[in-house]
Amino acid sequence: MRRYLAILSCALFFAILAYGVPDLPDLGDPDAPANKHVAQRYIEGSYTESGVPNIVTAVLANYRGYDTLGETAVIFTAGITVMLLIRRKWN
């Protein structure tokens, strides 16, 4: 019963996602919107603005630095959680 339910919901899930596929931009399409708008600006301007040749680094640490701060907080959370859960002293 449960297996069929799982298969059914997987099929539904697959169908919904597959519905969107033909509409997504082609693989490697240089004119895809994702590669234009903001990304273009990063490629063009990041060196003058942050002085790092690696654009990924520039974006990671500069333009979207707060995502990285959040990322750190996630690791911190996970670390504390793991300690809380499996450290002997706290059990």
Partner: protein, 488 residues
């Protein structure tokens, strides 16, 4: 001026506070809870300032790192954000005071990690609310979720499996959201909410956008425990420590609803999700079923916390119903119900926690004489429950009034009936507790009230429930202003 940086400070304070908690905990364990309360109090004060600023001076946009959006991350605060921020921070603060005793009792000797996670939970939720960048929202969602999994797992043996199931569901939900965000990004090339909403209209009708909406709606519905995606919630709330149940019921689900409103009504334009694609009316029908199902399931429970959890499922249905009908009145009612349900349910969970703290009783049929044993606590319970039923003059009445009015105005008779009928069902499951707690015991029972640090937040919530019920036009004014700006 420091006031210009408030919207980022509310997060920065939290993150810094969390990072410093272990250090403080290593010096003196007992300081942790005070520290957490202090940090969250700061956040609460900032959120009040933010609300004040937004009311006085209009929307706030803060560019993190000085990068103009959409290149950098933007924190955008409008009336809705500020309103939800105040609710979330206020509840987290009160529960942190309450938790000092309650968590100390239910989860002894783990102050250090506990309060670190508590601050992180608060900050994660505030981050979801304050951010104007859709990917940043995902990051904060995960901070909050991870902290929530850990906090729920603190409730003992059964809470581990509850937490695990919640984690699986939560990851599905977060992944859906991440994928939805990815679809929106792939189609528009930007992550800033305002920018996306400016670029989207030319893309309406494309299947990818539909899939993105479906993913986001389902993902956020899991997070908010909309029936029938609520399955993680009853176990999690039942087995988590009471303070954690309180804070999660009052805030996390509400933040999810906030995110849904934000995505559906400001990122994607309301006219699209209401008229072109009937997302909203589907949501409202699901919500209507959820209201009834949640109430009926709540009637079947005998564990007080599990009953409250199912009642949450039902009440979340109200909020979705209001948002789903998407007319001004119902939407106002729905958003007001975010406030009212938070106030009532947090109060009720805190009462449940206080009862467990004093007596260890969870079965509602064993509550005999509780009205004499803990009179103030139970009085607060009565007020919270009456507000749930929708008896005036409480805040619960105000939101139900608006919801029913909105449904009536839209000619949705079924929803009118559902809203009104479920008041009665709510009365059924709460009245069992009244009957057991207050009546039928004649001998003298020694008064054994909850400790003051638990009692104060409980009473504060009861008082606010009534006060805001009498002055409901204040929050309604704020909400209506926002709703009028958003809905055509």
């Amino acid at each position: 001026m420091i006031t210009d940086h408030l919207s980022v400070l509310i997060i920065a304070v939290g993150l810094l506070g969390a990072f410093f908690t272990p250090i403080i905990g290593l010096i003196r364990k007992e300081m942790c809870s005070l520290w957490a309360s202090f940090i969250i109090l700061l956040q609460f004060l900032i959120s009040i300032f933010l609300l004040y600023q937004v009311i006085i001076a209009g929307n706030i946009s803060y560019w993190l790192g000085g990068w103009e959006p959409p290149w950098g991350i933007e924190y955008a605060v409008d009336l809705l954000n500020a309103f939800v921020l105040v609710i979330v921070a206020g509840i987290c603060f009160s529960v942190s005071i309450y938790g000092r005793k309650s968590l100390g009792f239910e989860v002894p000797d783990k102050e250090l990690p506990l309060y670190t996670l508590y601050i992180l939970l608060t900050t994660g939720m505030l981050g979801i609310v304050v951010t104007g960048d859709i990917f940043n929202l995902y990051v904060f969602l995960e901070i909050g979720s991870l902290a929530a999994y850990a906090l729920i797992a603190m409730g003992g043996r059964h809470s581990l499996t509850a937490s695990f199931n919640y984690m699986i569901m939560g990851t599905v939900s977060a992944s859906f959201i991440l994928l939805g965000i990815g679809y929106l990004y792939v189609m528009t090339g930007t992550l800033n909410m305002a920018d996306i909403s400016a670029l989207l209209p030319s893309l309406y009708g494309r299947p990818v956008i539909l899939v993105a909406i479906a993913l986001l709606v389902v993902g956020l519905s899991i997070k908010t425990a909309l029936f029938p995606l609520h399955t993680w919630l009853p176990d999690a709330y039942t087995h988590a420590p009471s303070a954690v149940s309180a804070v999660l019921s009052g805030t996390f689900t509400k933040v999810g609803i906030y995110a849904l409103i934000r995505v559906m009504f400001t990122v994607i334009s309301p006219s699209y999700v209401i008229e072109t694609v009937p997302v909203m009316s589907i949501l409202s029908w699901v919500a209507a079923i959820g209201i009834l199902a949640g109430s009926l399931l709540a009637i079947a429970q005998y564990d007080i916390k599990r009953m409250l959890a199912y009642s949450s499922v039902s009440q979340i249905g109200y909020i979705f119903l209001g948002i789903g009908m998407a007319n001004k009145l119902a939407m106002t009612g729905g958003i007001l119900h975010i406030l009212s349900h938070s106030l009532m349910k947090v109060g009720l969970f805190m009462v449940a926690g206080a009862i467990i703290y004093r007596t260890g009783i969870r079965n509602i049929y064993q509550l005999k004489g509780m009205g004499k044993k803990m009179p103030y606590t139970m009085a607060a319970f009565v007020i919270g429950a009456l507000s749930m039923i929708g008896i005036p003059p409480t805040i619960g009445f105000a939101s139900k009034f608006y919801l029913a009015w909105g449904a009536l105005g839209a000619g949705e008779w079924v929803f009118v009936v559902v809203i009104l009928l479920s008041s009665l069902l709510t009365a059924v499951y709460f009245w069992r507790i009244f009957e057991n707690a207050f009546f039928g015991v004649h001998e003298d029972i020694k008064k054994d009230e909850a400790p003051i640090s638990m009692l104060l937040p409980i009473l504060a919530f009861a008082v606010i429930t009534v006060l805001l019920g009498l002055l409901a036009s204040l929050p309604i004014g704020i909400i209506e202003q926002w709703v009028t700006g958003v809905l055509p």
